[in-house]
C-alpha cells in the first residue's frame, strides 16, 4: 500500500499505564506519508493518550516510536536527544484549541517559529500570514483568541501547528467543542490539508467525515486496537461486535459536512 516509503509514524508494542491501570495496551500503528488515519472509539478508550505518546507529551512505559525514520522512544526510554525538534516535526491540534490568550492570532502562529525554530522575524511573519490565509483567516490576524469564535480559534490553532512544517499533524477531537457551523469550517480546512497531501492522525467522533477523508480507520477500545482497515471495512462492514456496537451509537448523526 505504501510502497517503499519510510513511514512518518511507526508505533510498535506501545504500552502506557496510569497508576497501574493500563490505558494503552500493546498498540501497533504505522502512518505512511500523505496518509490520513482516523482513530475512533469510546470515551476513555485511550485515543488522546495514544496521540500524546506520539510527541512524548506522555511518556510511554514500553514500546517503540519512530518519527520519520528517527527512533525517539525505545526500551522504556526517550532516546531522541532533541525533544523540541521532535515536537516541531509533529504538529498537534487540541480539542479546546489552547491558543495563547495574550497573543493575537498572527503572533500565535509566529511564536514557535521565533522561539523554538529561530526563524527570522520577517520570515516568521510572512509564514504566519500565509498560513492564516490558508485557513481563511487573514482578516482576523490581529484578533485575540477571546475575540474569535471557536471555529476561528481552532483554525488559528491549525495554522499554529502548521507553522513549523511538521511531518505529521495530530488532531485530538478538533471539532468536539464546536457548534455545527464552526465544525464545518474546521473540517473544510482539514479536507484542504488532506488534498495538499498532509499526513494526519485524527481522533474524531465525526464518523461521516472520517469515512470520506481517511485512508485508514482505527477502532481503539480499552487501549487496544480492536479493528483497523479502510473506512469501508471498519465503518461499513465491521467484523467485531464492539465496533458495531460503537458505530450504531452514531447512526443518528447526520452528515453535516455535505451541507456546507
Amino acid at each position: 500500500m505504501t510502497g517503499g516509503q519510510t513511514p512518518v509514524v511507526t508505533i510498535e508494542g506501545l504500552v502506557k499505564s496510569f497508576d497501574g491501570r493500563t490505558v494503552i495496551d500493546n498498540v501497533d500503528l504505522t502512518v505512511a506519508p500523505g496518509r490520513i488515519v482516523s482513530v475512533i472509539g469510546q470515551s476513555g478508550g485511550g485515543k488522546s493518550t495514544l496521540l500524546r505518546c506520539v510527541n512524548l507529551l506522555e511518556k510511554p512505559d514500553r514500546g517503540r516510536i519512530v518519527i520519520a525514520g528517527e527512533e525517539v522512544f525505545a526500551g522504556g526510554r526517550v532516546v531522541c536527544d532533541d525533544l523540541a525538534r521532535l515536537r516541531q516535526s509533529v504538529g498537534m491540534v487540541f480539542q479546546r484549541f489552547h491558543l495563547f490568550p495574550h497573543l493575537t492570532a498572527v503572533e500565535n502562529v509566529m511564536v514557535a517559529q521565533r522561539k523554538a525554530a529561530g526563524v527570522p522575524e520577517k520570515q516568521a511573519l510572512e509564514t504566519a500570514v500565509r498560513l492564516l490565509k490558508r485557513v481563511h483567516l487573514a482578516h482576523r490576524g490581529l484578533a485575540f483568541p477571546d475575540q474569535m469564535s471557536g471555529g476561528e480559534q481552532q483554525r488559528v490553532a491549525i495554522a499554529r501547528a502548521l507553522a513549523l512544517q511538521p511531518k505529521v499533524l495530530l488532531f485530538d477531537e478538533p471539532t468536539s467543542a464546536l457548534d455545527p457551523e464552526s465544525t464545518r469550517e474546521v473540517l473544510r480546512v482539514m479536507r484542504e490539508l488532506a488534498d495538499d497531501g498532509m499526513t494526519m492522525v485524527i481522533v474524531t467522533h465525526e464518523v461521516p467525515f472520517a469515512r470520506r477523508i481517511s485512508d485508514r480507520v482505527v477502532f481503539l477500545d480499552g487501549g487496544r486496537i480492536i479493528e483497523q482497515g479502510t473506512p469501508a471495512e471498519v465503518l461499513d462492514h465491521p467484523t467485531h461486535a464492539r465496533t458495531r456496537e460503537f458505530l450504531t451509537s452514531f447512526d443518528e448523526i447526520t452528515d453535516q459536512e455535505t451541507h456546507s
Binding site: L57, H98, P101, V111, A112, A116, F144, A161
Partner: protein, 247 residues
C-alpha cells in the same frame, strides 16, 4: 498675592515652607529611592519564592513556604528594627539605607510571593502543554507563554502592594532613614506646628501615591487589552497589520 494673603491674615500656613523646600525634596527623593529599590528587590525575591513554591520537589517548596509564613506574620516595624539594630549582634552592620531597603524587600517579598504563586498556578496547565507541543523549551515556555499570562493575573495585586510599600516607607522613620516622614518629624520638632506639618506631609504622600496608582491602573488595562508594552512588539504588530491588509 501670597504677601497680600499673609498681611490680611488669610494665609493658612504658620511654617515658612519655602525654607524647608530643599529638605522636603531630599526626603521625597529618599522615599522614592527606598520604594523603588525595595520594590524591585521584593519582586525579584517574591518571584524566586513563588517559583520555589510551585516546584514539584517538596524540599524546594518547604523553605519558601516557611519564609512566606514567617514574614507575613511579623510586623514590618519589627523587621526594620531587627534588620537595623539586631543584625549588628552577628557582626553585620548595615547602613541605614541598606537596612531600610532590605527590610521592605524582606517583608513585601512574602506578600508578593503569594500573589505570584497564585498567578502562576492560575495559568492553565494546557497552556504549558500547548507550548511544549510546539517545541518550545522550558525557558521559552516560561518566558513567552506562562509569564505573560501570570503577569496579567498578578498585576492588580502587585500594584496594590507597590502603593502599600510606598506608604510603608514612612515606617523607616524609626531608624531615622531621612525619608519624607523622617523629614516631617524633624520639621515638626523644630517648628512646633505638628498638625500643619503632618497635613502637608500627608498631602505630599497623596500627590505621590495617587498618580502612581492611577498609572498602574492604566497599565493594568493596557496589559489586559493585550496592547504592546515593548517597542519590538509594537513593530511586529504594525508589520503584521501592513502585511495582513495587503493579503
Amino acid at each position: 498675592m501670597i504677601s497680600w494673603l499673609q498681611s490680611h491674615g488669610y494665609w493658612p500656613f504658620h511654617v515658612a515652607w519655602s525654607e524647608w523646600t530643599s529638605t522636603l525634596l531630599d526626603g521625597l527623593l529618599k522615599t522614592i529611592e527606598y520604594a523603588a529599590l525595595g520594590f524591585v528587590a521584593a519582586a525579584l525575591l517574591g518571584l524566586v519564592l513563588a517559583l520555589m513554591r510551585t516546584s514539584r520537589i517538596a524540599l524546594v517548596r518547604l523553605p519558601a513556604t516557611v519564609y512566606t509564613e514567617l514574614f507575613k506574620n511579623i510586623p514590618l516595624l519589627v523587621i526594620i528594627s531587627v534588620t537595623y539594630y539586631g543584625i549588628v549582634q552577628f557582626g553585620i552592620k548595615l547602613g541605614v539605607f541598606e537596612a531600610g531597603a532590605l527590610s521592605l524587600a524582606i517583608f513585601y517579598a512574602a506578600y508578593l510571593s503569594e500573589i505570584f504563586r497564585s498567578a502562576l498556578v492560575g495559568v492553565h496547565g494546557a497552556q504549558r502543554e500547548a507550548a511544549q507541543a510546539l517545541g518550545l523549551n522550558r525557558w521559552s515556555t516560561f518566558a513567552h507563554v506562562v509569564f505573560p499570562q501570570a503577569l496579567r493575573l498578578a498585576l492588580p495585586g502587585t500594584n496594590t502592594m507597590l502603593v502599600d510599600l510606598l506608604k510603608s516607607t514612612s515606617l523607616l522613620t524609626v531608624i531615622a532613614a531621612g525619608e519624607l516622614m523622617a523629614v516631617g518629624n524633624s520639621v515638626a520638632s523644630q517648628t512646633f506646628e505638628q498638625m500643619e506639618v503632618f497635613l502637608v506631609i500627608g498631602a505630599i504622600y497623596f500627590a505621590l501615591c495617587y498618580p502612581l496608582s492611577q498609572g498602574l491602573l492604566w497599565l493594568e488595562r493596557r496589559v489586559r487589552a493585550g496592547s504592546p508594552l515593548s517597542p519590538a512588539r509594537s513593530r511586529r504588530l504594525r508589520a503584521a497589520r501592513e502585511l495582513l491588509e495587503t493579503a
